[in-house]
Symmetry: C2
Subunit: 339 residues, 2 copies
Amino acid sequence: MQNQLAQPDLNNAEDNPLNRLSDLLDADMQNVDALIIQNMHSDVPLIPKLAQYLISAGGKRIRPLLTLASTAMFDGSMDKSYNLAAAVEFIHTATLLHDDVVDESFERRGKKTANLVFGNQASVLVGDFLFSKSFQMMVESGSLDILRILSKASAIIAEGEVLQLATTNDIATDMPTYLNVIESKTAALFAASCEVGAVLSGQNDSTVTAMRTYGTKLGTAFQIIDDALDYAADQEKLGKEIGDDFKEGKMTAPIIFALENASEEERIFWKRTLGYKKQEETDFDHAMEIIKSHNALDKTIALAQKYADDATQSLSALPDCEIKALLCDLTGYTITRSF
Amino acid sequence: MQNQLAQPDLNNAEDNPLNRLSDLLDADMQNVDALIIQNMHSDVPLIPKLAQYLISAGGKRIRPLLTLASTAMFDGSMDKSYNLAAAVEFIHTATLLHDDVVDESFERRGKKTANLVFGNQASVLVGDFLFSKSFQMMVESGSLDILRILSKASAIIAEGEVLQLATTNDIATDMPTYLNVIESKTAALFAASCEVGAVLSGQNDSTVTAMRTYGTKLGTAFQIIDDALDYAADQEKLGKEIGDDFKEGKMTAPIIFALENASEEERIFWKRTLGYKKQEETDFDHAMEIIKSHNALDKTIALAQKYADDATQSLSALPDCEIKALLCDLTGYTITRSF
């Protein structure tokens, strides 16, 4: 096993806010990485092998960074935040492993998915291991309040994933249901990542709520853009195939906006391709045309922008500092990112 | 959703120790059942539907009973034990859901498996939900010691499942490796179920260790017999198909004993049927003949008996009481049970 994690691939050299936050918290993030490696260990060799495969592919590590940032912002104990940041990344990694099994995905972070390389069985079980380990790490924080926040977030993530499964291939899925799915499956962990830093630092309720709201709004914006990128991204930069959501019949913002004023003919097209997953080779291109003709991607980005603005707004009452400024900048970055 | 759980089907009218323990703790178990129903709830209807499907099929609920028994035995707070007992059953249920996906099983507790009825995707995700919920329930216990015990047990279970996966179809798997698998995947949760009752009741280290050892030994005996039943049970009583382990090429005690003194011809047979999973219709009958000719089932039961005796022995220093006597009787029952 390599004993170093790949550095996050932040996809371009430009000085984006995620890079700046990463740089500022670099020494702390190294401690988190060390804990991630340490807790991936198991006497069963397949576990570190599979976990390392996914984690070393270099995700953005945005969630642990948020935990570190929200702790540092209030001068909380960085030592205590490391375990929590690593735990948050483990929850996220476990979710990815199970997601890729559920979605039958083949590519993530520019590599074959773990389920393709190691099999669905190993992905399910190693996901369970990472999930259990995340709780072991959280317990070390010694705070029942924090355990309550993160265990609740985990349950909400799973609920969001099940709701997403139930709405897949259902073209009647509306915007509130879609927002419920992404606030659960994605934003809940962003929110918890931000909240635990404030709790760890002993902040009052209104500050904790502000950080939690920031995480919820940022995570929602992040996921909406993720869903837009599945119809708009440069495949190489994205690190996975575009059109995956279309193939699976996932009901995401671009589709829901396109369906709002769909002609009868378009509705029949969506029903066949998404509802019944009966797809031909040219269907994705045609889907893109319809999406374009309804300005559905622009509407999707505008929706994400609204959440990004709300995220910034939620921090307004907090004292100004370097990290707060970076967190505000980060909301814009979630919109303009290309991966 | 039904608002009552099916009563455990203890498969025969005779007055077995599990029934007697169930009767003694009946009022407490009703509280646990109420918590199980309450915590299965979700606004996403598929979650209670699937969870209810499996839980209402009526398992033995032996693990939550052990938590109740080990709390009652030391006059601990029964109120606090209910959440933990329900949490333990949720961990077990989550494991079953994922196991059946991994094993591609079709039948459990006399019903079609959840993955067959609801699909693998839903089983994986609802398993994740129950697992997260179990942690939420544990947090309510307010004890970091107990959270440490149960989160560690969860990680060990996952390790055991991965090790089992790695040894499946590997006919070189030896007895120590097999015992490592079952002590992890099964006995770890039995051990934790017993240990938390003693911890909750504020018992000293030697008592906690005694209860933990009892759980480990009992759980190991239980799993060894489970593995024997897959080659010996009355299918109707067992509630699942016999021969499943053979079909999957799982390396369990009856096979490992049969391989110890295998002829060259037999070794070739095992290599083909288990190693390469190339099986013909008559192969299971032939496997049973070989197992019989090596007294491999008798040896398996003797091994389980040894663990059952150790379980009883581990309680010897504890004060005599009705529950202790029942726990001792339960060790014999794990050997003689037919399901």
